[in-house]
Symmetry: C2
Subunit: 415 residues, 2 copies
């Protein structure tokens, strides 16, 4: 616990996460069967085994001629091996059979000579090079052996996993069902984009961002609209959301020291309710995490950037868990030279938005000007987070730092 200005208690970020997750009692995720073509980005729910060797027979890796390696001993351009061409299923001594890439290796042959290292002359084939046995042959089982684990349960499926599954004969895969996430915004000061606003209202952007971040991770979302700053209205929306969703995420109505409408509403609804409220995390201090009816509730700040970072810290690993992922899915990291000093407060984990760019082969991290946590443009202008730990007070210009990337690297024109 860290003391805030005399009366507020903040929980350390890692401790908050741990406390929340230890209250989660997740079974295995529900499994759905999808066609291979629709499995990209889904998380495999069951180990995928090879039911046969891949490749299932020794096959040629080249266009050329299958021969016996023993017949090539001593062959060179000056003194080619001379072989008889055969059409038979079997290659005998001093014989060669034409094969194309992917063809099974005929019996008796143990090597494929590339076309460009041969020449047909009269009815015979001249081969210019000596080759070790099994050169240019993909041996059966070389890629994956029968019985081997090809893809582990809990893996997020890339194009290459799908390719491997296809090669092994799978047309469908068992994947984790997409977690169902309800998103509720709160606040009298916000209006739905596309509707009439009052003069003191702004458009809600948090539901749009939170939904998109969930979609990126493979969750499905329901937009449950905006609740007014009213504990009963908020509680009603959350209770109804819990009936048909796995997770509820709210934005707004939580602060450090001010209005705590959402935490209050959650606590009215049941036990354990709010588990941690107030995290030593900048700019997402008002974040709260809760459990209701055995389901996680994530209470994010109403400030857009604080909501994004609260989701980054608590929402991302939660969704990985719900999907049954075998390991965490860290952001890509890069080491970069910090281009300008950043400030941070001792005792707070601080997420600094930076723009990482490549200049003359070096990576530089430029802090994106420190506007308030309401400024969404700091997210669109940056591509990574420099995370300053609790035991540091700022980071100096010129220090090499680790940045977690959420966007593409900038490449300067001079590279």
């Amino acid at each position: 616990m860290v003391k805030l200005k005399g009366f507020q208690k903040l929980t350390l970020t890692d401790q908050a996460l741990q406390t929340w997750f230890s209250a989660l009692q997740l079974g295995k995720p529900k499994v759905v069967v999808v066609n291979l073509q629709e499995a990209l980005g889904r998380v495999l729910a069951e180990d995928l085994f090879a039911h046969e060797d891949l490749p299932r027979f020794d096959k040629s890796a080249m266009d050329g001629y299958a021969v016996k390696s023993a017949d090539l001993v001593g062959a060179s351009q000056g003194k080619p091996a001379v072989l008889q061409l055969t059409q038979a299923d079997q290659v005998d001594a001093k014989q060669a059979k034409q094969v194309w890439t992917g063809n099974p290796i005929p019996k008796g042959a143990d090597v494929v000579v590339m076309l460009e290292n041969t020449q047909k002359r009269g009815g015979v084939l001249e081969v210019w090079s000596q080759l070790a046995p099994w050169t240019n042959v993909s041996k059966s089982g070389e890629d994956v052996k029968k019985g081997d684990l090809a893809v582990k349960a809990g893996t997020r499926l890339s194009p290459y996993h799908l390719g491997l599954a296809a090669a092994l004969g799978y047309t469908q895969l068992k994947v984790a069902e997409k977690p169902k996430i309800a998103i509720i915004a709160t606040g009298n000061e916000i209006a739905e984009v596309g509707t009439e606003r009052l003069s003191n209202q702004i458009y809600d952007s948090n539901k749009t961002m939170v939904a998109a971040m969930c979609h990126e991770l493979g969750a499905q979302t329901t937009d449950l609209g905006i609740a007014k700053d009213n504990t009963d209205e908020i509680a009603e929306k959350i209770q109804s959301a819990l009936k048909t969703h796995d997770v509820v995420i709210t934005t707004g109505g939580t602060s450090v020291g001010g209005l705590d409408l959402v935490p209050d509403a959650v606590n009215k609804l049941g036990k354990p309710g709010v588990i941690v409220h107030g995290v030593a995390l900048r700019p997402a201090m008002p974040t709260a995490v809760a459990m209701l009816e055995g389901k996680p509730v994530l209470i994010l700040s109403g400030n857009p950037v604080a909501a994004v970072i609260g989701f980054e810290v608590f929402g991302r690993p939660l969704i990985s868990k719900l999907l049954g992922m075998s390991k965490e899915e860290p952001r890509q990291i890069v080491k970069a030279v910090l281009a300008r000093r950043v400030a941070s407060a001792l005792g707070r984990k601080t997420y600094v938005r930076v723009r990482v760019s490549l200049k003359n082969g070096e990576l530089f991290a430029e802090p994106v000007s420190a506007k308030g946590s309401g400024a969404i443009s700091t997210m669109t202008q940056s591509n990574g987070y420099l995370i300053v730990p609790e035991n540091r007070e700022g980071v100096s210009e010129g220090e090499t730092v680790i940045v977690q990337m959420f966007g593409g690297l900038e490449v300067a024109n001079d590279v």
Copy 2:
């Protein structure tokens, strides 16, 4: 041009790409209008401007009290400023008005004191700290100014771009239409996954992988099945595909020195046909690039890994161009220490599959054992490419190398 074993000519990779792209005459991509909620990952087709200041009024960034900063001069915990609470629309000297995060700042006030730095005592408010003007106030236009370019055309839309668009009042966005890509596999040796195979056939995995790689980049694909090793059949499929697609990608039927059924088929269909055939690129030497009816045709190797890398080198930047992206979309890169020497041939750009892992704060790149280019498991076991340039012959163990990441970083358990 690089000479291959006396008779084959290979084109340098960058030159091949340049020659192909200079033959492309792309107009602006077709534009479609999508709802904000469906725009994630799409590419913005038109500059997005701010039609109003964001925020559109000075608003409170905290729960607290709006006051005049002049009234706080010299305030401290020992000697608080004492202010009268007001409900009026305006804050006069020595007055304070309660505000919640997001509320407009009342006239006359120029600062918000956080709740936790105040105390109500009797009917008055004690404030313990001095604050510079506009502290805890999000100034109107601080995020984006009216008339400013908020998101540039050609940007791939992240959750944060969508959030910014929502905040600016956009409910729909103009995005590039998904390029329509036809995928054709060729080869007598392959069968559709899920169908009966002959004893000398294997399942096709290339169409699955190429389609998924296209989908990752935001293209739509049509699976046009498998053409036998027959120039007419291949030509017919390509011709029919060109009628309704923007791009045709084939796999198989191309080699260096062997069967060139697909290049032959393409050249039968028209001019210019094949532009480059044979690239100084490992393991994707047989790749060919072509243009027919003003549309690009990408001819990939039949070997799965060579197909993947041919797509990586030629397909990825092509799709970025078709989407009208404002800049290339490079893979994330990391610097890592090479854990084992890799071999490469002088004069070839070589894509080495490596697994990058984080151990004790250091990144290491472990080459994934050099099986043939048919071994898809080398792709599923690796997470990045070490690209060895043409002027290098291998890279030594212990060298610091740049890796292009296509998968998540491995994090060793001891970190």
